[in-house]
């Protein structure tokens, strides 16, 4: 198409505007001195101050990050095992079941996973007096959910990877474990990193499952935000949202630059 289609550009602009106007509005409001967001009361950093002084929020942030980090690491271990098995092991007893258990959580509404996980923990607690509902249970439920997403990432990377590399390593005398650690793992490392970040984000952002499986005193960040939001629009949340958006934008830009530089190096 040689003609620059005006209609297409307008439609695209509308779409991107739709995606970003809410984000920009939140950033703008976070600097609004007035508590009522509909009225502009002048530029102010007041809400950032109140955010940093809000101990409940800060505790929740710390808790969420800890849970997310543990979740992501465990999810990568589990997801890599699943992804490896499903892409390289051919047919083995239980393959169908493993595949099903890996795809089901992704098509399931969060509320279902939340309720079922909670009922499991309640039953376990009755029988074995463990676990107590709190960060442990949230983490266990999160790992189960996010591992399935990691499986997808690892599996897709492994199917697109040249299998003859692993065959060549075996042909040269390396046993399967060595092949995995010396050949496969370095080559799928970017996928593992992507999987870790994905699991981290999913865990950090989860409201529903955490609400079901948490216990007293173990509120996560989304839970605190949700309860504040239900009570009414509170401006500290704007400040929090701005910080998160800026952090993510920085992270993605850095990642993009790093990848771009690595691509150029390879030439």
């Amino acid at each position: 198409m040689n003609r620059r289609p005006f209609a297409l550009y307008t439609a695209m602009l509308a779409g991107y505007a739709f995606l970003y106007i809410p984000i920009f509005s939140v950033i703008a409001y976070s600097f609004n001195a007035s508590r009522v967001s509909t009225v502009w009361g002048g530029f102010s950093l007041r809400w950032y101050g109140e955010l940093l002084a809000n101990q409940q929020l800060l505790d929740a942030v710390q808790r969420s990050f800890l849970i997310a980090a543990i979740t992501a690491t465990a999810a990568v271990a589990l997801g890599t095992a699943s992804g490896l098995a499903l892409s390289r092991f051919g047919r083995f007893p239980g393959r169908g079941l493993l595949s099903l258990m890996n795809s089901a959580p992704m098509v399931m509404p969060d509320v279902m996973i939340g309720l079922s996980s909670l009922l499991l923990f309640v039953t376990l607690q009755q029988a074995f007096d463990w676990p107590d509902r709190g960060m442990t249970t949230i983490t266990l439920a999160h790992i189960t959910l996010t591992a399935c997403y990691v499986t997808v990432v690892v599996r897709s990377r492994m199917t697109s990877m040249d299998e003859s590399l692993e065959e060549a390593a075996m042909d040269l005398g390396a046993r399967p474990w060595r092949v995995f650690f010396v050949i496969t793992l370095p080559l799928i490392a970017p996928a593992l990193l992507a999987g870790w970040l994905l699991a981290f984000t999913l865990s950090l952002d989860d409201l529903v499952i955490a609400s079901f499986t948490s216990g007293p005193g173990s509120s996560t960040l989304p839970m605190v935000v949700y309860s504040k939001v239900k009570l009414g629009v509170t401006p500290e949340i704007n400040a929090l949202a701005t910080i998160i958006v800026v952090a993510v934008a920085l992270g993605v830009s850095l990642a993009g630059i790093a990848m771009h530089r690595r691509d150029r190096e390879a030439d």
């Binding site: 297409l8 939140v26 967001s37 095992a81 959580p105 969060d110 079922s116 009922l119 993605v252």
Partner: protein, 330 residues
């Protein structure tokens, strides 16, 4: 419930046990000959079985019990030991009866389907131009455009939905803009209505429509359009007859990625919608947290399993089989 001693039932159970033994033999052989692989597969298998599969069995069991308030756990036990030593199974189908008889549940399910399908349509309308533009863009621009689409996904969706509150509320950003150009009265806002829910779902799920669409459109051979033009087709015609049909796989993929999760959505209808924006996800939440009726919530979960998850998994299975057949036939 006492087991019938008809041979049919015994035969059935005998078959089950025999199949189980066969399976165990297979597993045992696998363990002996391929120890390493067995380790690798059994780790996720055991974890998922314990933390994913077993919970649903528990949900099933509890859906057949009755709520008891003030007790921990707040539901009746399944198996009861009577004074004379007899063991009996107490199944209450009352929860399922409630689901079927009270119109609240059916209408909540239908409302969820309505929200999801309309939102999918809007996602397609809004997302197709973006996907098309990205597919036709120069490679250098393409990466930037794609990143801009994906970036919101990495920020918290809860916070973004919250951002919509500020825009959609009475005299929020949208209201202020529209009343400034005299389209609406001052103080107008659509927060806490169905309209807000639609906006919210489209807002959150738009990237999921754009990405598969972009992938499919990028694989499109645009010289086909040039050939159409050469043969005299006007641009709109060429689009409807060539581009649209060829991008169907991407449209379907994107539609599924939006529709299926949207049906079970809880957060968006809860934050942005009014009391009549009752989706099946909200119903589950309310039954559990507000009404404290765990068995009913469990029954709703089973219903969602049957009505949402099972069809999706079946569809995926059929699709995979079809794709495998196609690959084998080429």
């Amino acid at each position: 419930m006492r087991a019938a001693s008809a041979s049919g039932v015994w035969g059935f159970w005998f078959d089950v046990v025999r199949n189980l033994f066969g399976w165990f033999r297979l597993v045992g052989r696998e363990f002996r000959t391929r120890r390493g692989r067995f380790l690798v597969t059994s780790l996720p298998m055991l974890w998922l079985a314990l933390f994913f599969l077993v919970p649903f069995l528990i949900v099933l069991k509890i859906s057949f019990s009755q709520a008891v308030f003030g007790q921990v756990p707040p539901y009746t036990a399944l198996v009861e030991h009577a004074a004379d030593g007899a063991v009996s199974l107490r199944l209450h189908a009352s929860n399922y009866a409630m689901l079927l008889s009270d119109p609240l549940y059916v209408s909540a399910y239908l409302k969820s389907l309505l929200f999801a399908s309309v939102s999918t349509g809007f996602c397609l309308l809004l997302g197709y131009p973006i996907a098309y533009g990205i597919a036709r863009a120069r490679p250098s621009m393409r990466l930037v455009l794609l990143v801009l689409v994906v970036l919101p996904f990495w920020t918290s969706s809860l916070l973004r939905t919250y951002a919509l509150m500020g825009i959609l509320k009475a005299n929020g950003l949208l209201g202020q803009v529209l009343s400034a150009i005299a389209l609406v009265e001052p103080g107008w806002g659509i927060l806490y209505s169905d309209a807000a829910v639609y906006v919210g779902i489209v807002y959150n799920y738009l990237p999921f429509m754009i990405l598969p669409l972009t992938a499919t459109l990028m694989r499109l051979d645009f010289t086909l359009l040039e050939a159409a033009e050469d043969l005299g087709a006007k641009p709109w015609h060429a689009f409807m007859r060539i581009t649209l049909p060829l991008s169907m796989p991407g449209i379907i993929a994107g539609a599924l990625l939006v529709f299926i999760p949207a049906v079970g959505e809880f957060v968006i209808p809860d934050i942005l919608g009014g009391p009549d924006a009752l989706t099946i996800g909200r119903v589950l939440w309310i039954e559990f947290f507000t009404n404290r009726d765990w068995p009913l919530a469990a029954a709703v979960t089973i219903a969602m399993l049957v009505l949402i998850v099972a069809p999706t998994l079946l569809f995926e299975y059929v699709e995979n089989r079809r794709a495998d057949q196609e690959a084998a036939n080429t």
